[in-house]
Amino acid sequence: MSSEPTPDTAAHPALDRQDIAHLARLARLAVTDEELDRFAGQLGAVLDAVAQVQRADVADVVPTTHAVPLTNVLRADVATPSLPRDAVLAGAPAAEDDRFRVPRILGEEA
């Protein structure tokens, strides 16, 4: 993806390397320095594209709050069978004592 368009930084506040690093951390993605620059440009282009929507005249358009025009879709409070535990834990990377085993939660700094 070396031929990405140059983002139009005038249309929105530009995403800088720090924003990308922050988002990557929230999403638990490891991103290299080189990728920070590249993604800042690419995501800027995405924002530009979306920003075009803001230029549309929507004075006469009823806001869409949901893709499905329904409300109050509810189920009765009735318990139904759960999955067998063996099947549940079969999908886990690791299990112990009938539970999902996960790595240490707090890092060394905590």
């Binding site: 922050h22 951390r25 929230l26 638990r28 709050t65 949901h66 893709a67 499905v68 329904l70 409300t71 109050n72 879709v73 509810l74 189920r75 009765a76 409070d77 009735v78 318990a79 139904t80 069978p81 759960s82 999955l83 535990r85 549940v88 834990l89 999908g91 112990e96 004592d97 009938d98 539970r99 999902f100 085993r101 996960v102 790595p103 240490r104 939660i105 707090l106 905590a110």
Partner: protein, 499 residues
């Protein structure tokens, strides 16, 4: 744990506290919030999970009608405005106990807003404003392995049980409560107490703090007296008893005062309460995690409670605790102080049911606040945990009222009831506890007392009638308290003076 603390009374000489509470209540529904998995407490780990509450790809949530109704009912009981349009939102963060990578919650469109709850402390009423009541789902439960006593610090790894993940959770958030001064810790406790009682009355949850079905985050800040700005608050997380709610506020007031006195700055942070010492310590810093990137949940359609639905729920609300207390106080002719004692002793419902079973309010109160309170104290249990029902207590009062037993024998009958020997009347029968009538047996005891104390008899005959009391005492002893003292006195009078 040796943080500097200011004496509590000293804090109030220069600072004013502001408190705030966030209370989480697990609803007592049969099934989870967005799937049909059962919600049984204490079930075998990971036996109440399915693709929805495990967050497996392709699964779709559907909201639980009973949970939505319970939330609206809680909102109504707190005088909230019920939103006519409300949506769920995704609260995005990573933690092993949330399988989806987000918690389905509500953000800017909660179900209920702008309510209040009045609480009373030492005869004064404090209004706690409710900011919002919203509906979300609980997380799974982590078990930390390899560290000291199950703590997350120093753990080698953790084990997760998702039975609790997805159980409907209602969050009730107060607005900041200023102006409580020295009573701030008690106001916090009184608020949670009253809220708990309301939710219990609604039947929306079993609100058992020790099982975590009601848990509190307690916010505390201090500002210099007279300051127009509030101080920086700390949030003490997951406080799980009423007593601890009070202690958390008290401790934070004393600790923050020491920080401010030393010219320091209170850090906005989450803290943990240590139940053993009543102190708090900083939790892990979550600076990054506060960026939750909320957005409307696309997999759930909006909730739009119409007026008809809300009115129907409002009409079905039971009598709320405050109204019930006022009514009972009037019906029983109690003073405000007497009523407070009854409530604080946890005896209100018991007395009410005892009266409903036929006892007089005065007798019911006397038993529950007297003998039964003593028994529960001695046994170190709550009144409600005693092995005696209000109906049985009413039967005891009836046995006394009809003269079958006196107070002392009634207490012995209670021994039998508590020991599982059956209802009071049956215990009286089986143990032979009925008051002795004017029988040959009692007559013999009276004669023996007269024969055994000629000096007393002489005194009585000589005009010192009050000396008769010694003889009455002797008869009561030989009959092991089973005689009726008035009857004994009359028989003695007849035989000493009359004959």
């Amino acid at each position: 744990m040796s943080e500097p603390l200011v004496e509590f009374d000293d804090v109030l000489t220069r600072y004013e506290p502001v408190i705030g509470l966030e209370t989480h209540v697990e609803l007592g529904t049969e099934s989870k919030m967005f799937c049909g998995c059962a919600t049984t407490f204490g079930a075998e780990p990971n036996t109440q999970t399915c693709p929805v509450c495990l967050g497996l790809p392709g699964s779709l949530p559907v909201a639980n009608a009973a949970a939505v109704e319970s939330t609206i009912r809680i909102g109504l009981a707190l005088g909230c405005r019920i939103a006519s349009w409300s949506r769920f939102a995704r609260k995005n963060y990573f933690y092993p106990d949330i399988p989806k990578g987000f918690q389905t919650s509500q953000y800017d469109e909660p179900l209920c807003t702008a309510g209040h709850l009045d609480v009373e402390v030492d005869g004064e009423t404090y209004r706690v404003e409710i900011e919002r009541v919203h509906l979300e789902e609980d997380t799974g439960k982590n078990l930390h392995v390899g560290g000291a006593t199950g703590r997350i610090h120093g753990a080698d790894h953790s084990l997760v049980d998702f039975n609790r993940a997805g159980i409907p959770l209602v969050e009730i958030v107060t607005r900041p409560v200023p102006g409580a001064g020295a009573k701030a810790p008690e106001v916090a406790r009184a608020y949670v107490t009253e809220l708990r009682e309301i939710i219990q009355t609604l039947g929306a949850s079993d609100v058992r703090m020790e099982q975590g079905s009601l848990r509190c985050d307690v916010n505390t800040s201090l500002a210099p007296t007279g300051s127009l700005e509030w101080g920086t608050r700390t949030e003490t997380k997951n406080v799980n008893s009423l007593r601890s709610v009070e202690r958390a506020v008290r401790y934070e007031m004393r600790r923050q005062a020491a920080v401010l006195d030393a010219g320091g700055r209170v850090l906005q942070e989450t803290r943990h309460l240590h139940e053993d010492t009543g102190s708090t310590s900083p939790g892990r810093s979550k600076e990054e995690a506060t960026d939750y990137r909320y957005f409307p949940e696309p997999d759930l359609v909006p909730l739009a409670p119409d007026a008809e639905w809300v009115e129907k729920l409002a009409a079905g609300l039971p009598e709320l605790p405050a109204a019930r207390r006022t009514r009972l106080q009037q019906e029983w002719g109690l003073s405000a102080t007497e009523m407070t004692w009854l409530v604080n002793a946890g005896a209100l419902g018991l007395v009410e049911r005892t009266v409903a079973a036929g006892a007089s309010p005065a007798d019911a109160r006397k038993w529950w606040l007297g003998e039964l309170a003593r028994r529960s104290n001695d046994a170190g249990v709550e009144l409600t945990e005693l092995a005696v029902t209000p109906a049985q207590v009413a039967e005891l009062t009836a046995l006394v009222a009809e003269g079958t037993v006196n107070d002392k024998l009634a207490r012995q009958a209670l021994d039998g009831v508590l020991a599982g020997e059956g209802d009071p009347r049956a215990v009286v029968q089986a143990r032979g506890l009925a008051v002795m009538g004017e029988s040959d047996e009692l007559g013999a005891a009276v004669d023996a007392a007269i024969a055994g104390a000629p000096d007393v008899v002489a005194k009585v005959r000589g005009g010192k009638v009050q000396a008769l009391g010694a003889l009455v005492g002797a008869v009561m002893r030989t009959t092991r308290g089973q005689a009726d003292a008035a009857t004994v006195k009359r028989m003695l009078e007849e035989r000493v003076l009359g004959g």
